[in-house]
């Protein structure tokens, strides 16, 4: 059996929309002939482990590979090395006490997880958050989409041997860390949402800091694109590697950029809009070939679109209260709790007894940076959930990895795994 390697055409540029933004990633089918790089090592099969302790597995993923020479015959993923049973823990906690568990799942986009959880519980309780809270949460979620995509970009580039990109993206991530820290007091474990609102309102000057970040961020994206998009090594390692057809991607349950790279335009923000996403002007980039290169282009464009959404959200940020005016769920102001007996009793009861949810259930999903993030909360009327379930996008995306890499080369395993943008904290939960 001979190994295949594809000729790539480095001159095919992605189409740019007016204004230099890339709305679509047309990738021309390969015209060149495939040629053999080297002959296979005479069909000797072996079984090897990648991981669990390997930097390129982005955590503690373990892939058992059956190799025929350098070709992957079979891939069997093993997960669970980071299992902490968050869902079980959630059944022993008040609704508000679960928030810190959510950002420990996806520590690369913690605010999206905080918001998604709060939104699901609010839907169950029938709470409508204030206009200001909606916009603040949109800002949080789009900021963390950039945050997560930047990490994906940096680590994937490093996995494929491009070190410089990592330095560029982590410089920008550092600024988002600073924004996190100023808003929530923490850089990773933000725990910023509460049922019915946020832990605190935006601090003074935060929006100015965010604006400054956005102004300096887009040039960096362009710069990184000049490093990668037409880079012969990058193109050679990503085009036509790990591809999955749109039909297969839907059947395997892929979501997020991984699904859209295959040409299926399913984005929760567009298809089931929440928080007035239908009123924001933004595009959803859709790829064509479902390979790593298309996923890369989709994510690059998503970062630019997130900047667009962020700018619109900053423009429309209304003043007013960030928390709902509902004493059942929201704590009284600290000064009132310290000075007024009734408020103190109120504070005590909300903290000690928790917020009670009506009998019922709700399955609610948002578009996280990695795909569709679903939160399923079931209540029997108590202050704690009967069941709290997280449909983690990485968990379902990584399940498709054998489908993508069986028949590919060993070196492509690293590339495909990186391209799926997984986070093991959420896969293992």
């Amino acid at each position: 059996m001979a190994l295949r390697r594809l000729i790539y055409n480095v001159t095919r540029n992605p189409e740019m929309a007016p204004g230099g933004s890339l709305v679509h990633a047309p990738i021309v089918p390969h015209e060149g002939e495939a040629y053999e790089v080297h002959e296979d090592i005479a069909g000797e099969h072996m079984l090897i482990n990648i991981g669990p302790q390997h930097p390129a597995t982005h955590g503690v993923l373990r892939l058992v590979l059956e190799l025929d020479g350098e070709t992957v015959v079979r891939c069997i993923p093993h997960i669970g090395y980071l299992h902490s049973s968050f869902e079980k823990l959630g059944e022993y906690r008040d609704w508000n006490q679960i928030v810190p568990l959510t950002d420990r799942m996806d520590y690369l986009a913690p605010l999206i997880y905080n918001c998604a959880y709060a939104m699901a519980v609010e839907k169950l309780m029938g709470i409508t958050v204030t206009e200001r809270c909606k916009v603040v949460r949109v800002i949080c979620m789009e900021l963390d989409r950039i945050f997560s995509h930047l990490l994906w970009l940096g680590t994937t580039a490093i996995d494929l041997g491009a070190f410089t990109v990592f330095l560029y993206t982590f410089q920008q991530r550092e600024k988002i860390y600073d924004l996190h820290e100023r808003f929530t007091g923490a850089r990773i474990t933000t725990s910023s949402t509460r049922i019915g609102g946020m832990m605190a309102d935006l601090p003074a000057g935060w929006i100015a800091q965010l604006n400054e970040f956005l102004d300096n961020f887009l040039p960096v994206v362009d710069e990184v694109e000049t490093l990668l998009t037409n880079n012969a090594i990058w193109v050679g390692r990503t085009q036509g590697v790990g591809s999955i057809s749109g039909e297969d991607a839907v059947n395997w349950g892929l979501s997020g950029p991984n699904l859209r790279a295959s040409g299926v335009s399913y984005d929760v923000r567009k298809d089931r809009p929440y928080y007035d996403y239908e009123t924001y002007d933004f595009d959803v980039p859709v790829g064509e070939h479902g390979d790593i290169y298309d996923r890369y282009l989709c994510r690059m464009e998503e970062m630019r679109q997130s900047v667009r959404i962020l700018r619109q959200a900053i423009d429309r940020l209304p003043s007013g209260s960030i928390n709902v005016d509902d004493p059942r769920v929201i704590l009284p102001p600290k000064t009132a709790a310290m000075n007024d007996m009734e408020s103190m009793i109120h504070h005590f009861k909300v903290v000690m007894e928790g917020v009670r949810a009506p009998v019922g259930e709700s399955w609610f999903s948002v578009e996280s940076s990695k795909g569709e993030l679903g939160m399923y909360v079931v209540s029997d009327g108590g202050a704690k959930p009967v069941r709290w379930r997280v449909r983690g996008p990485s968990f379902i995306n990584i399940a498709a990895i054998p489908h993508m890499i069986e028949g590919a080369l060993l070196s492509d395993v690293i590339a495909v795994n990186a391209s799926l943008d997984i986070v093991l904290g959420e896969i293992d939960r």
């Binding site: 079984l47 169950l124 259930e361 679903g374 449909r391």
Partner: protein
Amino acid sequence: MSESDSFRKGLEGLDQGPRPSDAGDDATPPQAGALPPHPSVDALRQRFGDAVLRHEVVAGDEHIVYVPAARNLEILGWLKDEPAHRYDFLQDLTAVDYGGGREIQVVYQLWSIPNRLNLRVKCELPLQALEIDSVFHLWRASDWLEREVYDMFGVVFRGHPDLRRILMPYNYAEGHPLRKDFPLRGRFSRAEQTRRALAMKTEDHYSPMELEIAHVLGQSVPDPFDQGEAGGSPQGQFGGMGGAG
């Protein structure tokens, strides 16, 4: 002394599980008077008649259909393939245990990309017969989801090609953690849990299929935690940085 007593009391509280609800035994949400219509539910009623056991609307706009567990494959297959409905995207497959010996619900959360419509289908399984047909051949997405439900709730999916534990170790002997009768700290003492973790053999890290492959290849399975000669310097190539994810 009193401090340690209250501390111990807190720990006991942990083992009692979630606070019992005021709702009593009936944990199902109340039926709304006039339910908003859902095209697929009406079609299901027409096509399958009595197989639609219940129809509920929760949280404002979420439709739930209860179907008999024995007919899940038939009904879900119809929902997926019928051109007018086409629930081609399995968003989620999970289970809910309400505790108190009640049935375990298997929950299918469906989304139709062409029709932009949600539907939740539930099957109730009595604790004595936790078996249901696998939907693996309808949606490949259900592969790991069913394994997770098996691992966490002990529901057996008939026809799943590779039903084994996914999050817990293969030789985990304490049961199914998300069941309500499973204590938060596990069934075994901490000492026993530690002893078992330390006593794991190389083979315990592999599924039966992998052991068979290794046997056919005439190879012994490599230890995934061996940092010895095979370890070499795996960090060197990546500078140890790629693990940031």
